[in-house]
Amino acid sequence: MTFTIFLEQIINGLIIGSMYALIGSGIALVYGTMRVLNLAHGEFYMLGGYFVFFLAVTYGLPPFLAIPVAVVGTFFLGMLIQRMTIHYLLGKEGWMFSTIAATLGLSIVLQNAALLLFGEQFQSVPYYLDGMLEIAGIRIPYQRLLIFVVALGTIGVMTFVLKKTRLGWAIRATAQDRDAAAVVGIPAQRIYLITFGLAAALGAVAAAMLAPIYAINPWSGLPILLKGFVVVILGGLGSFPGAIAGGLLLGVVEAIGVQLTSSEWRDVIGFALMIAVIWWRPWGLFGKKA
């Protein structure tokens, strides 16, 4: 019996970890491509959550329609906000610090805009699927299985885009050497814009899947951002596959840790793991030593 519970927790850890992976991979994509540490990444998660809430609850769209529309909407919103803010800082003197300050400011502005527009009440979205899967005494709600499937699908699509498409090649080339990319005809500014939009969209996918479990409110981005940071530090800052592995690992370690202690320790466990990694392997568990 205890073993079953233990296994259930590990599976739960993987499921939550797949969401951490989505959030971390957005941060990693932006950092890896444009060397910008996006402190407003959590706010795109928050806005994505509101998008889903309004479409699915207020307007009553079915989830399979509401979620893609919300994700695409967040993609364009991300590009719009990038174009209006950090676009002007990139490449200018001191841009590495000015972009951190700008995204911090952006995060505060977006939180307060959400508070003003959507109010302070916590919103939630009903479960997309009811019922439970039961195999050999292990019980997994279909809702959580759906989370995992969507996360894997999204990661698969992103990997395909990065590896096999013209856009993906351009993103990877720009990330590795911006000048060399420009020389072969890749417009860095446009790549930065699209990358930022993609990262925001990844946040929105996570928000859509977690909306039935965690309430949406103007401040829901911050804890997500912190999780995302732990993930990218585990995986090696700027590495997309590292963020995926880091996310899954964090989910499982948290789940096991909570089993051994109690749920108040969840964040402590995550951050302790992060500090240990910074101590022993500052380039990340899956990153390469610079």
């Binding site: 990877r172 050497d177 420009a182 020389v183 860095a188």
Partner: protein, 238 residues
């Protein structure tokens, strides 16, 4: 005489407050090899970067095939027919050899011909086909330079800029690269390259420029320049 392919007129380039190029003027004709010579810090790299749009011109004019390209952004140069091999290769080091080479044809203007160009560069550098799946960053310096040159040729340029193509390479590889530059040139591509070594520079070129402290102090044919007193003064301090 035919219209020059590239004309640089009174080019001034500053990095911050520091002026690197002072009223630099030079020319390259179609099918020519031009050497830009100069000691360290003379600004010879900056000339090439300015032509490619990687170093912004403060004043002056750069004309290519009768068109003012002074303010054209770098990523549009390949579409006009200019390509560049950057200093120290600058490959996409985590990507494979094949990916690096194909990225040379990234621009839509080159996309259609990518396949036939790939065959052409693989014929020029057989090693590209042999090592197509190797990660570029793990190759030797000379092999990387071949990948970098192949990448730059994928867009079918009429003008190729090569920033220190011999830097850090063994004499044997240098000879090989020099042969390749000649072969590229025989295919009708004009080449402008820079180099510190006098013999290396003028052995290959039709025409050369000597830079000192960011100014052109001498220009002429290779033979004229090798015998020049100015060369002796700049290099030997006599």
């Amino acid at each position: 005489m035919s219209e020059p392919l590239l004309t640089v007129e009174n080019l001034n380039v500053l990095y911050g407050d520091y002026q690197v190029l002072w009223d630099v003027s030079m020319q390259a004709r179609a099918g020519e090899i031009v050497a830009v010579l100069g000691p360290n810090g003379s600004g010879k790299s900056t000339v090439l970067k300015a032509i490619m749009g990687l170093a912004p011109a403060k004043s002056g004019r750069i004309m290519f095939e009768g068109r003012d390209i002074t303010r054209v952004p770098t990523h549009e140069m390949v579409a006009l027919g200019i390509s560049m091999v950057l200093e120290r290769r600058r490959l996409f080091s985590a990507m494979t050899v094949r990916e690096n080479v194909l990225l040379g044809a990234y621009h839509r203007s080159a996309g259609k011909e990518a396949k036939s160009r790939l065959e052409w560069v693989e014929d020029l550098f057989p090693i590209l086909a042999e090592r197509r799946d190797q990660i570029a960053g793990r190759m030797s310096g000379g092999e990387q330079q071949m990948v970098a040159i192949a990448r730059s040729l994928m867009s079918k340029p009429r003008l190729l800029l090569m920033d220190e193509p011999y830097l850090g390479l063994s004499p044997r590889i240098v000879k090989q690269i020099a042969g390749i530059i000649q072969r590229i040139n025989q295919d009708g591509v004009a080449v402008i390259f820079n180099e510190q070594n006098v013999q290396l520079s003028f052995g290959l070129s039709n025409h050369g420029y000597l830079l000192e402290g960011g100014r052109v102090v001498l220009s002429g044919t290779g033979q004229e320049m090798i015998g020049s007193d100015v060369i002796r003064r700049v290099y030997l301090g006599v």
